[in-house]
């Protein structure tokens, strides 16, 4: 098992793991509502499958948040 950081929290994974599998592993409800940074760089949606996460990588899931007015 390898340790990575997901939203600042340590997570143990079988490295390497594709970003798309990491999304599934984290039960992201609506993958289309998340923007992802790996080690401070944004990953384009079309590269979610090809991007591999390795030990010590830092992943940030950033969610669309739409509320405010009505």
């Amino acid at each position: 098992m390898s340790a990575i950081l997901v939203n600042d929290k340590v997570q143990e994974i079988e490295a390497p793991i594709s970003l798309i599998d990491l999304i599934k592993l984290n039960n992201v409800e609506q993958p289309e509502m998340v923007s992802i940074q790996v080690n401070g760089e944004f990953v384009a949606r079309e590269n979610f499958e090809s991007t591999l996460i390795n030990a010590d990588d830092e992943v940030d899931f950033l969610y669309f948040m739409g509320g405010g007015s009505r």
Binding site: M33, E41, F42, M65, G66, G67, G68, R70
Partner: protein
């Protein structure tokens, strides 16, 4: 600007602050701020900016007050139901602080009026509830070189980032609006009322920091919090050289009216 005795007294707690002082209060009093959306976020922003004595506050909103707004939109009171939100907000601002000049736009922000409306302001606050307008505000402000504060709330969560020319913009982080049918907004998913106050007051503080030049703005950092755990995070974000509006080769050169989400309540959220 010369403050009279009442104003010295009114703004004394700002003036006492070493970083603000009379000079800083003058900058606040000369400030012109546009608030887009007089709802959950716009309400606390407007109340605090009015109390702070921001010289000119513009408010744009095309809605009337609904009974279901009062749970969080604290600038509107029960007798205001069915009144235009901009009018209701203007009345409260005037009662809090007659020094403030309020300009109201009983309208929606669109690709055709955005530049014309934002051009007169020093700073823009996004207090809207949907992605088409959030991206419109971002693109208009980036293209016009206007600093602005993005804010979003949902259920128990809030997020905000301040964008000034050259720093990471909303599109650098979120690229493009999500598919309309995927999007829950407050009216569909619900929100804890106090979250609006937590996020809106952070946005108001950013405005006052920008006007006075005090401290470090929330630029290149996305602040997110969850009220269930009361965990706050700031995530470093970088200006994205591939950003469609502020990157090296922008592909978006004019404003877009994205289609509005027309969704129903998502049962499993």
């Amino acid at each position: 600007m010369d403050f009279n005795e009442d104003q010295i007294q009114r703004y004394s707690r700002h003036i006492l602050l070493q970083d603000v002082g009379v000079e800083g209060q003058e900058k606040i009093s000369n400030g012109k701020v546009l608030i887009i959306g007089a709802g959950g976020l716009g309400a606390p922003v407007a109340l605090y900016l009015a109390a702070a004595g921001v010289g000119t506050i513009g408010i744009i909103d095309g809605d009337v007050v609904d009974l279901s707004n009062l749970q969080r939109q604290v600038i509107h009171f029960t007798p205001d139901v069915n009144k235009a939100k901009v009018l209701s907000a203007k009345e409260k601002i005037n009662l809090i602080n007659p020094d403030v000049e309020v300009i109201t736009y009983y309208d929606l922000l669109t690709a055709s009026n955005a530049f014309e409306i934002i051009k007169d302001y020093d700073f823009v606050v996004d207090g809207t509830d949907n992605f088409p307008v959030k991206f419109l505000i971002n693109d208009a402000c980036v293209m016009a070189g206007k600093p602005f504060s993005h804010g979003g709330i949902l259920r128990f969560d809030g997020q905000t980032i301040t964008v000034v020319p050259g720093t990471a913009c909303y599109r650098c982080v979120f690229h493009a609006p999500p598919p309309a049918n995927a999007v829950p907004t407050c009216s569909q998913a619900g929100v804890l009322g106090a979250i609006a106050g937590m996020l809106g007051t952070i946005q108001a503080a950013e405005v006052l920091k920008y006007l006075t030049g005090v401290g470090n703005l929330l630029t290149n950092r996305l602040l997110t919090f969850n009220a269930k755990t009361m965990d706050f995070r700031t995530i470093k974000v970088k200006h994205n050289s591939k950003c469609q509006v502020c990157g090296d080769h922008p592909t978006i050169t004019e404003l877009i009216d994205y289609e509005q989400a027309t969704c129903e309540l998502k049962t499993n959220n």
